[in-house]
């Protein structure tokens, strides 16, 4: 233990070369994903340069009436909902100590961490004066009665919490045993802090729109947006876990032990049940809000049909499919339901932040192709880094034997 505790210090050269080696790509280059993602990311980078030279208007279609476009509505507001899996799973694994989920908690935390880092990046892209972002951080005038202020701070702190939660994997990768011990000791604190922050900023993202009372179509606006956002982040996050898991399972098949593979089916079935249950609660809340807000009057309009599509097609249907998958112990249905749920969450978040926002404006916002390319590039870069980490650190694969990870 002693000799390799801090290889960073003792064997500087070799660790330098080790890092360099690790930076090199591994595996085949011409995969379909690379062929699609590389050009998109290059174009995205060029668009970002244009954006900083000529202003946001040069690449984006946002208007004076609808000032937040897909970068905020999709990358930030929707993306964070999908990253909700991390706080739910850390709760299940570290607080409730359900061991079964241990094999997927790391990958979920990694996903959440990367999502937050990149969505914070998207936020910066969308800021008119990003160099002033330090004002609210260093306390150069705290706008502390601002919901956005709270959300921004919670984002930042949550990134730190997730970094701590994930850090044992980095320590295992570097074979830094003593650091591993210390960092593992921090996990529980980080988890509790992280869950608290998550409940606040998941709901906070909804609370951002509370003041836009007349500006959001009454079918989507209610004083309960924060609670609805919080509740839906549960099944949004878990659906993402199921979806991501079913892809990783194939792409990184070599890393998953056969024991874990067997467990996965079980895990998905339990997740399906949690999803179905949280969707049921969510629907119930929506129905209360609907009745409370006397929303019948709006149903027989185009916006009303759109609302029904979101609620029936992308909440009720996937909820039933989740139930079905659980009843039949068939995970195929769960995967379909997860995809439907993901679409539904995208719809919901975009509805609140963009589509139903000033739905009555004379000129409506439709994203430009450049905005979409940037939005997609951000996701692609995230996936690249995700893949890089998975291929190197013990995330899906088993930890080295010296690291006793159960019940950190």
């Amino acid at each position: 233990m002693t000799s390799s505790a801090f290889p960073l210090k003792k064997e500087k050269k070799s660790i330098g070369r080790f890092l360099l080696d690790e930076l090199k790509p591994r595996g085949k280059w011409l995969t379909p994903f690379n062929i699609i993602s590389i050009p998109v990311m290059l174009v995205g980078a060029a668009i970002i340069v244009i954006r900083f030279i000529n202003g946001i208007g040069a690449v984006s279609n946002v208007t004076q009436d609808i000032p937040w476009g897909v970068w905020k509505g999709f990358n930030v507001i929707t993306g964070v909902a999908f990253a909700g899996g991390a706080y739910i799973l850390t709760f299940v694994v570290y607080v409730l100590k359900v061991d079964k989920f241990h094999s997927i908690v790391r990958v979920t935390v990694l996903n959440g961490f990367l999502a937050y880092v990149f969505y914070a990046g998207a936020l910066v892209l969308d800021l008119g004066k990003p160099w002033n972002i330090f004002n609210p951080i260093i306390g150069n005038n705290f706008g502390a009665n601002s919901v956005l202020f709270l959300v921004a701070w919670h984002f930042l702190l949550y990134i730190v919490a997730q970094a701590i939660e994930f850090s044992p994997a980095v320590a295992e990768w570097l074979n830094a045993r003593r650091a591993h011990k210390i960092l593992s000791g921090l996990t529980l604190g980080a988890v509790i802090f992280g869950i608290t922050l998550s409940t606040l900023h998941q709901s906070g993202l909804g609370a951002l729109f509370l003041m836009a009372k007349e500006k959001i179509h009454p079918l989507w606006y209610s004083e309960f947006i924060p609670l609805l956002f919080l509740m839906s982040s549960v099944f949004a996050g878990l659906s993402m876990v199921i979806f991501e898991g079913s892809i990783s399972e194939r792409v990184f098949a070599d890393q998953i032990t056969s024991e874990n593979k067997k467990q996965r089916k079980d895990i998905i079935l339990i997740l399906s049940r949690i999803c179905a249950f949280s969707m049921f609660v969510y629907l119930f809340m929506q129905i209360l809000v609907f009745a409370h807000g006397h929303r019948w009057a709006y149903i027989n309009t185009p916006m009303g049909y759109w609302f029904l599509l979101e609620m029936l097609g992308f909440v009720v249907v996937p909820m039933l499919l989740f139930l079905l998958s659980f009843k039949r112990a068939n995970i195929r249905w769960a995967k379909v339901a997860a995809v439907l749920t993901i679409v539904g969450i995208i719809l919901n978040r975009l509805n609140v932040s963009i589509i139903a926002f000033r739905w009555d404006a004379a000129v409506h916002y439709v994203p430009s192709w450049m905005e979409i390319v940037v939005a997609v590039s951000i996701v692609f870069v995230e996936i690249w880094i995700f893949r890089w980490v998975i291929n190197r650190m013990p995330v899906l694969r088993e930890s080295p034997s010296w690291a006793n990870n159960k019940h950190a």
Binding site: Q64, W68, L123, K129, A144, N145, S146, L148, L150, L188
Partner: protein, 287 residues
């Protein structure tokens, strides 16, 4: 009163953030002097639609002169290059002109939204924007119920633009440019209280000429720009679904709950953690 409430939110918010930071939980000194808000009363029965306000506004703020003019059926809007516009409406009492600009809310949504206090309700009354604080997030635009703040989308160093009631001029003891240059005395500057009394007087003395409502007395929790009109306000393009409570009050419940969540959630989580731990220990076969 408005200031008190704002401070109250501040305290709440800082406690939330402060708990998060683990330090820093002091509120700002609550000793702000309560001065009376300055305001502007606009009487559309007097307005002749000459655009003098628009021209003088453009001049003092170095903006391009207006090139179009009020026309019935055309909705001119403020934008990043003009902070005030006059529109013409065909109403039940003939053609009526209406000047629009920022309402200078008593408790502005934009100010509560702004996370750097770049958007600030001054104690004098005007709501101003401060370039060196703003990070360009446009949350003020999302929140303003009157869609007032505009953004220079085509600049690499963009500004938020809106009427600031000529705050710099007021500091030097001058009138807002539009008030000073209105030939028809449609605009009047004073303390908000004086102007509400004046508006009431006009309505009482000439009930036939006015629709008996002062727009801005209660809308959005009260504004420092007040309107008189000969016809109901929806006829001259005002949103009538504006609530009378202040907009920042809508986030009150959420902000209230933040400190509570910070105390409750971690203790509950720790409690559960302890409980599950002892359970596991009892039938211990792990590790």
């Amino acid at each position: 009163m408005s200031i008190d409430r704002r401070n109250f939110f501040k305290v709440l918010g800082v406690t939330g953030a402060g708990l998060a930071l683990g330090k820093q939980a002091q509120a700002e000194p609550a000793g702000e002097e309560v001065t009376e808000f300055k305001a502007i009363l606009y009487d559309s029965t007097r307005c002749v639609g000459c655009q003098s306000c628009e021209f003088s506004c453009a001049e003092v703020h170095n903006l391009p002169e207006p090139e179009d003019f009020p026309e019935v059926g055309v909705l001119r809007k403020t934008n990043e290059k003009r902070r005030t516009v006059v529109n013409a409406y065909d109403t039940s009492k003939g053609e009526v002109y209406v000047k629009r600009q920022c309402m200078h809310c008593n408790q502005p949504a934009c100010g509560a939204a702004c996370l750097t206090q770049a958007m600030l309700k001054t104690k004098e009354g005007p709501v101003i924007w401060r370039e060196n604080k703003c990070m360009g997030c446009r949350y003020c635009m999302i929140s303003c119920p009157f869609d007032v703040p505009k953004f220079e989308y085509n600049s690499p160093n963009p500004k938020i633009t809106k009427c600031n009631m000529c705050f710099e001029r007021q500091q030097e003891g001058q009138l807002p440019a539009c008030v000073e240059n209105c030939p028809a005395e449609a605009l009047m500057f004073g303390t908000r209280r004086e102007l509400i009394a004046e508006a009431r007087r006009r309505i009482v003395e000439n009930p036939d000429a006015y629709y008996p409502h002062i727009y801005g007395e209660n809308e959005a929790g009260g504004t420092s720009f007040l309107y008189l009109s000969p016809v109901p306000f929806e006829e001259i393009g005002f949103r009538t679904n504006i609530q009378n409570a202040s907009y920042p009050a809508l986030t009150k419940g959420f902000l209230y709950s933040v400190p509570a969540v910070f105390v409750l959630v971690p203790s509950v989580l720790l409690g559960i953690h302890k409980a599950t731990k002892s359970n596991l220990d009892k039938n211990s076969n792990h590790d």
